[in-house]
């Protein structure tokens, strides 16, 4: 029950998030970044997860993983401050002492924060700063120990079940999530340590050899430029004293180098921000690699290449040193611009920059986020029209609803189109991408039905589907907190199959969902005895038509999936859970059509079946991905089982409401029901009712 209450609270929190998300913070002052600096920084290209993207995108998802939001909000002396993701990342990289004071870590469960010995805040909405957590005695140590134990258990294949059970524990799950956020934050604040802090020893004091040099003797750039000399001195018989003096500096440099990201270690948290020296190389360079190649791995290159590499790499390190040591000075903006211009020019020369500007535009427009308020406004207007149906005002407002819905849908389609252009492939290849596509398809289908039917039924459904779909997309993006513009695995890199099988199957999903949503209207109309017979007839006709449409696409899409699998894996059908889910949608729709043609179901039966198909579609779309088995295991999302069971429970309840109409709402039909049919009706009603209770229980147990 607590979980249910908590979940309802989460929804309410989300609705009012914009106004309620400010937290009581311990930060005493905050100086905003110059907008020009932010603009330059946001547009800098970075290679991450196999793709070149603007720094803005990188910052957004990093912040989202820690803070569950694309923005940071806090108060300083009663003043509400909003910090964009890019500004926050700049704070981490260039002003870590400020970033550590920002309230950023979201810990909903007070037991989690108590488990590491930190005093919990009075409100779970209030974030914790890094300083707050790290200053509590042994908090970081406890966090590492607890998560380390869980990590060991996860690696042990003999403890698979035990590990799964341990991870299901809310405190353990919270600790793992907090540890991951702390790691990500620590990386961000330590990434430029090498440039800011240097090598922690003045070479001029360590050896007479460097006495004459002018300034910067503790800088990494100086250390690297003199690396050969350092090694030479260290190798001399009298070099032991010198080695003793600089050995600690060496260790620190090695640590900072690793934090800044070396080449062979695949790390998602390092910034690959420099285009490679060779035009044939695709992999961009992380700052740590520059240090590594100029020091520890220097001998891998010929003397000639060493010189070339030093000429190319040292100015980059010097530039980062300049930036990190001159934060707040007037020259900062020019230094950043110079660094950025160099990177951008090289990226343009390599033909890699063309999509960066488009992605920045896509980020700025946030078309999916813009569409949602318009659907909400359309819904409010629609609700107003229901107050005076048939009146002139109501008819006028209906045009308003239509206009807003069309506008929101155009924004949605434009958003999908922009993503396609950015990735150079058809619009769907990840679980996230199915959400806006299915939403857009269902809304367009509704608008087409409304064009023919003109009774406002499909229009109402389009608005509701638009709101639910975009809300789901937003929550999913925050929950995953990973860039939604992904590069594809080898097997998925086929634009032909993505454009045929995937599109077909998702249109099938959208039609199946739409059929189920429209069927709700019929069931509520029957149960609450509202709406005319004509209304119910229209609804049933729509459900039937949409089911036929959906079956065509689902069936063709499913079989095309088999044909694709035959070309990729050498087998047409492998009983993979995702394939089975799609097949179940087809079977459900075929049962509906044949039961109707056989005369076994009438209006009510068609609508109840449509709700069942909606449940099957939810199972196929989301649930099978949670089974952690099969070839389509790309879409596992933790923590959604609770919501799936809630959806199943609601839909089972709707089905039982519908089936109850056989007895309570149409008593005159009782006589018409034959013995066998009555038994079936009662059985299905009881089944739906029992399943409602079962699903509620499962949700509470999850």
């Amino acid at each position: 029950m607590n979980r249910l209450i908590k979940s309802i609270r989460v929804i309410l929190c989300f609705v009012f998030a914009a106004s309620l998300n400010f937290s009581a913070a311990a930060i005493d002052s905050y100086k905003k970044w110059d907008p020009e600096i932010v603009k330059i920084f946001e547009a800098m290209p970075v290679q991450e997860e196999g793709r070149l993207k603007p720094m803005q995108t990188v910052a957004r998802y990093k912040l989202m993983r820690i803070n569950n939001s694309k923005r940071l909000r806090f108060e300083v002396g009663g003043e509400k401050i909003k910090v964009s993701a890019a500004e926050w990342l700049m704070d981490c990289l260039f002003r870590p002492e400020v970033a550590k004071k920002m309230p950023i870590f979201k810990v909903n469960n007070p037991d989690v924060i108590e488990a590491i010995g930190v005093e919990p805040h009075s409100s779970p909405r209030e974030r914790y700063s890094f300083e707050e957590i790290s200053s509590a005695p042994d908090a970081m140590k406890r966090l590492s120990e607890r998560t380390g134990e869980l990590g060991k258990m996860m690696e042990d294949s003999d403890k698979e079940e035990e590990s799964k059970a341990a991870r299901r524990d809310p405190v353990n799950a919270g600790l793992l999530s907090l540890k991951s956020a702390v790691n990500e934050f620590e990386w961000a604040t330590n990434a430029f340590n090498f440039a800011r802090d240097g090598i922690a020893v003045d070479l001029g004091e360590a050896s007479e050899e460097f006495k004459k040099a002018e300034g910067g003797k503790s800088r990494v750039s100086y250390f690297l430029s003199e690396f050969d000399k350092i090694i030479e001195i260290a190798r001399k018989p009298e070099g032991q004293e010198f080695v003793a003096k600089i050995s600690a500096a060496f260790n620190l440099l090695e640590r900072d180098m690793a934090t800044a990201g070396v080449k062979d270690r695949v790390s998602m948290i390092s910034l690959a921000m420099f285009p490679p020296i060779s035009d044939d190389d695709e992999e961009w360079i992380k700052p740590g690699y520059l240090i590594e190649q100029l020091s520890f791995r220097k001998n891998e290159l010929s003397v000639e290449d060493q010189k070339k590499f030093a000429q190319w790499a040292l100015p980059k390190i010097v530039a980062l040193e300049g930036l990190t040591r001159n934060v707040g000075s007037p020259s900062f903006v020019n230094d950043l611009k110079a660094l950025s211009d160099g990177i951008v020019a090289k990226a343009k020369e390599r033909g890699e920059y063309k999509n960066i500007e488009l992605e920045l535009l896509n980020n700025r427009l946030g078309l999916f986020h813009w569409a949602l308020p318009f659907y909400i406004m359309a819904f409010i207007l629609l609700a107003v029209t229901w107050l005076g149906p048939g009146s002139k005002i109501s008819r006028g407002l209906t045009y308003g609803v239509l206009g807003m819905t069309v506008f929101a849908t155009v924004a949605l389609i434009a958003g999908i189109y922009l993503r396609s252009i950015l990735l150079g492939r058809p619009p769907i290849s990840t679980l996230y991408e199915t959400i806006p596509f299915i939403t857009a398809s269902a809304v367009i289908l509704c608008l087409v039905i409304e064009f023919f039917d003109r009774k406002g039924i499909a229009l109402a459904c389009s608005v509701m589907i638009g709101i639910i779909g975009l809300f789901l997309a937003m929550r999913f993006e925050i929950k995953e907190a990973r860039d939604t513009l992904k590069v594809l695995e080898a097997v998925l890199r086929s634009n032909f199959w993505l454009a045929t099988h995937v599109i077909c199957i998702n249109i099938g999903y959208s039609a199946a969902i739409l059929g189920g949503v429209i069927a709700h209207l019929f069931i509520f109309s029957c149960f609450f005895n509202v709406g005319s017979k004509d209304f119910r007839k229209s609804v049933t006709r729509m459900v039937y038509g949409v089911t036929c449409f959906g079956l065509l696409f689902a069936l063709v899409g499913t079989v095309l999936g088999g044909v694709w699998a035959n070309d990729s894996w050498g087998r047409f059908w492998g009983w993979d859970p995702k394939e089975n889910g799609a097949l179940m949608i087809c079977i459900g729709a075929i049962i509906l059509l044949h039961a109707k043609m056989g005369g076994y179901i009438k209006e009510l039966g068609i609508n109840v079946m449509a709700v069942l198909i909606l449940m099957i579609t939810v199972f196929s779309w989301w649930h099978v991905n949670q089974l952690e088995t099969g070839l389509h295991s790309y879409g596992f999302t933790s923590g959604i089982m609770f919501w799936l069971f809630i959806v199943y429970a609601i839909e089972s309840a709707v089905m039982s409401l519908g089936l109850s109409c056989c007895f309570f709402r149409f008593p005159e039909r009782k006589g018409q029901l034959g013995g066998v049919r009555t038994v079936f009706s009662v059985s299905f009603f009881l089944l739906a009712f029992i399943f409602t209770i079962v699903f509620v229980n499962l949700a509470l147990l999850t």
Binding site: G50, V491, L552, N566
Partner: protein, 431 residues
């Protein structure tokens, strides 16, 4: 199945013969709805069962069976398997949607669509019974090494015992295979099976066959030392014994083991009571076969527990293997193999989604290895090979279904629009 059930009843008031009633039932909507409901339930049960059983066992239980028992709310219920349901559905579809249906050239859509579904069901039947599949592993060229050639494929899930005779030069003379069907089924504790063949001068007694002795990490967790085997009362051969390890959900990761005893032939159907040789066989991979060898008189023999092997009618040589990751990641962007078909010299580039088709066989780019290879390591390509007479049939079936359904639904839409326009005009006229 164009007539509704009520239409059928209206037109058949007079008493029907049993045969006619049976025909009505087998071609009717009622059976179609019942079978489809079973198919829906079985697909759901089979999908959920994969979590516990894995794909292979769940498929065997739900999708390849005639009957099965399912625990529903703790009560065991006998259900028909998908194989049986599909066969009945094929019959129902043929009788109802092709034979009995009222045929009209004005409404051809459903007839075409149902024909397409029948075609796909038939393709499924042919593929299920006649497909041969396996994997071929070929190492990439390595400097002066001779290029890796092969004409053999290995099934990843089925195991067999190969009995090989060698000539005096150590070359294979012939191979006798004890196939997966002979090794399958339940092996209760202490049970043994004996295998004889007229070409083989001895009898092989297989005992204690275990489907898996490897854990999830590929370690031989079920291989016991002499002491461990003694403590557990397990048979020991050459200092080792074996015990079963729970089978892996991914069937290809299971490694079987068994004890064998060889008895010399002393008469037409008589064998010595004393074994001439005994061994503990552990499943071997395709690239590292370690057969157990022994001599019977002057003849040299080997017995090997190996993945079921097929020989292709042609050999393949790997010319080049390319693997490309997305920059800065370990996610494969593309991997492909350039191969040469030895007998004809045909060169083919096999990549993901672009298989090679030849002589009824299809070779797909499946995977590569070894796992965790570092830059510079010698890689191998893994080609999935299948022989399926119905390979492209589902594709043609899809076209037929799509055409049929499109014709039908477009006709339906137009007649609906006509009706709506008519009723709207009627409403306007009445106003």
């Amino acid at each position: 199945m164009a007539d509704t059930e009520s239409d059928i009843h209206k037109g058949s008031r007079k008493r029907k013969s049993l045969l006619a009633k049976l025909y009505d039932f087998f071609s009717g909507y009622l059976l179609a709805v019942i079978l489809l409901t079973f198919l829906l339930a079985l697909t759901y049960f089979g999908t959920m069962a994969q979590v516990e059983l894995g794909l292979y066992e769940a498929s065997e239980k739900y999708f390849e069976s005639f009957f099965l028992t399912e625990n529903i709310a703790g009560v065991p219920v006998l259900l028909p398997g998908v194989y049986l349901v599909s066969a009945l559905l094929f019959l129902n579809l043929t009788l109802g949607a092709i034979v009995r249906v009222r045929k009209s050239w004005r409404r051809p859509g459903m007839l075409i669509a149902h024909s397409g579904i029948l075609y796909i069901l038939f393709a499924g039947f042919v593929a299920f019974h006649y497909t041969k599949e396996g994997n071929m592993l070929l190492y990439e060229p390595n400097g002066s090494d001779v290029r890796h050639q092969s004409d053999e494929i290995y099934n990843l899930t089925n195991w067999s015992i190969e009995v090989t005779k060698y000539d005096s030069n150590g070359k294979r003379e012939f191979i006798h295979v004890i196939g997966p069907d002979q090794l399958g089924g339940d092996w209760e504790a202490g049970s043994t099976r004996t295998y004889v063949n007229s070409d083989i001068p001895f009898q092989i007694k297989v005992s204690g066959y275990l489907r898996n002795i490897a854990n999830g990490k590929g370690q031989l967790a079920g291989l016991l030392s002499e002491k461990g085997a003694k403590d557990k009362g397990v048979r020991i051969i050459e200092g080792y014994g074996v015990e079963a390890v729970p089978t892996n959900k991914s069937m290809e990761f299971n490694l079987p083991a068994t004890y064998i005893d060889i008895f010399s032939r002393v008469g037409t159907n008589k064998f010595d009571s004393e074994s001439i040789s005994s061994a503990l066989l552990i499943g071997s991979g395709p690239l590292s076969p370690k057969p157990f060898t022994f001599s019977d008189g002057d003849e040299k023999w080997s017995v090997d527990l190996t993945r079921q092997r097929y020989t292709l009618p042609f050999a393949i040589e790997l010319e080049n293997f390319q693997k490309e990751d997305h920059p800065g990641t370990m996610r494969a962007r593309e991997y492909s193999s350039d191969v040469i078909k030895i007998d004809t010299g045909r060169k083919v580039h096999i990549s993901m989604n672009k298989p090679m088709r030849d002589a009824g066989y299809t070779l797909y780019q499946a995977s590569w290895g070894p796992e965790g290879a570092r830059p510079g390591d010698r890689l191998y390509t893994s080609l999935a090979v299948s022989y399926n007479p119905a390979d492209q049939w589902p594709k043609y079936g899809t076209y037929v279904i799509a055409i049929g359904m499109t014709i039908h639904f477009v006709q339906k839409l137009f007649s609906y629009l006509k009706r709506s326009n008519r009723s709207r005009r009627r409403e306007e006229d009445s106003q």
